[in-house]
């Protein structure tokens, strides 16, 4: 039997790279017609941040908008600000056809740091990590788990997965980033 951690423990590990299950992160799932001008306008004004291009993330100091699908965004804000953003967005979107929900507790965010970060993920995802660049977003799988990840810096990637499997994801990342287990392919 694997040892049971609580889904919300802050986890961290240092091997070939540094892994941190970051503390609570505010997340809002937002569906709507991203092509629609007024819809766009409302979002950008509320978050005062421009919408990302396809497969990209746009970030300001403490907000990020992740492109999830042609009709879906994931908005990242401070955990304790979620409700306030949800309210204001709902208010302004009123009358639009959209869906918006607080999903902060449904997902967790791992922070991966170190120059081997792409190699670690390349052990689990069929996505081409050699062309992955800052602000790129990719939804794919890591081993057997669905995940979305985006590059913050050349040596730093944030990775989102469902809360219920965060323990498994953490264990996988630990094994994949065991010291001197990297193939040294991207160097």
């Amino acid at each position: 039997m694997p040892d049971f951690k609580n889904n919300f423990d802050e986890l961290s590990f240092k091997g070939a790279i540094e892994i941190n299950l970051s503390k609570a992160m505010g997340m809002i799932s937002l569906k709507g017609d991203l092509a629609d001008k007024s819809f766009k306008k409302i979002i950008t004004e509320n978050l005062n941040l421009s919408l990302p291009n396809a497969r990209n993330v746009s970030t300001s100091n403490n907000i990020s908008i992740i492109w999830m699908a042609p009709d879906e965004l994931l908005v990242l804000v401070d955990y304790d600000q979620v409700d306030q953003y949800v309210k204001s967005l709902e208010k302004n979107l009123d009358g639009q056809h959209y869906l918006l929900a607080n999903v902060s507790d449904a997902r967790v965010v791992f922070n991966l740091k170190g120059k081997g970060v792409c190699e670690v993920l390349a052990k689990g995802t069929p996505a081409d990590m050699s062309v992955f660049e800052v602000n790129d977003v990719r939804r794919s799988r890591i081993g057997q788990l669905a995940a979305a990840f985006w590059m913050v810096k050349d040596d730093e990637i944030k990775l989102i997965c469902f809360r219920s499997v965060s323990d498994y994801m953490f264990d996988w990342l630990k094994v994949a980033s065991a010291s001197n287990s990297l193939p040294g392919y991207f160097e």
Partner: protein, 106 residues
């Protein structure tokens, strides 16, 4: 191990990120249809040895359903297109005819 480009998010997805959804462009028959119509809709399949039009779901990705034209003998993928259509786009059909002159058409 197929790679198919998702027309929604533009990702060159690997088979393991996708789920195959069987024959495309089936017309749904509901109440009021004959037993034959319903049977053919639900079960009867072309299962072509050659050019297939089929459904794919970008499961480990943007979550969208899309269509692909693929040869079941060489596994060549002629192209992909959105699911919100009743038949393959003309351009795609002409590509296929160019590559497969003997092909009878969709």
């Amino acid at each position: 191990m197929l790679i198919i480009k998702c027309p929604y998010c533009g990702v060159e997805a690997e088979e393991t990120e996708l789920t195959a959804g069987g024959e495309a462009h089936l017309k749904r028959f509901g109440p009021g249809s004959s037993d034959d119509e319903f049977e053919s809709y639900l079960f009867m399949r072309k299962n072509v040895k050659g050019v297939n039009f089929e459904r794919w779901h970008h499961t480990y990705g943007c979550g969208k359903w899309f269509h692909a034209a693929r040869c079941s003998i060489t596994l060549e993928v002629f192209g992909t297109y959105l699911a919100q259509t009743l038949e393959p786009p003309k351009e795609l059909l002409s590509i296929i005819i160019r590559k497969r002159p003997e092909w009878e058409s969709f």
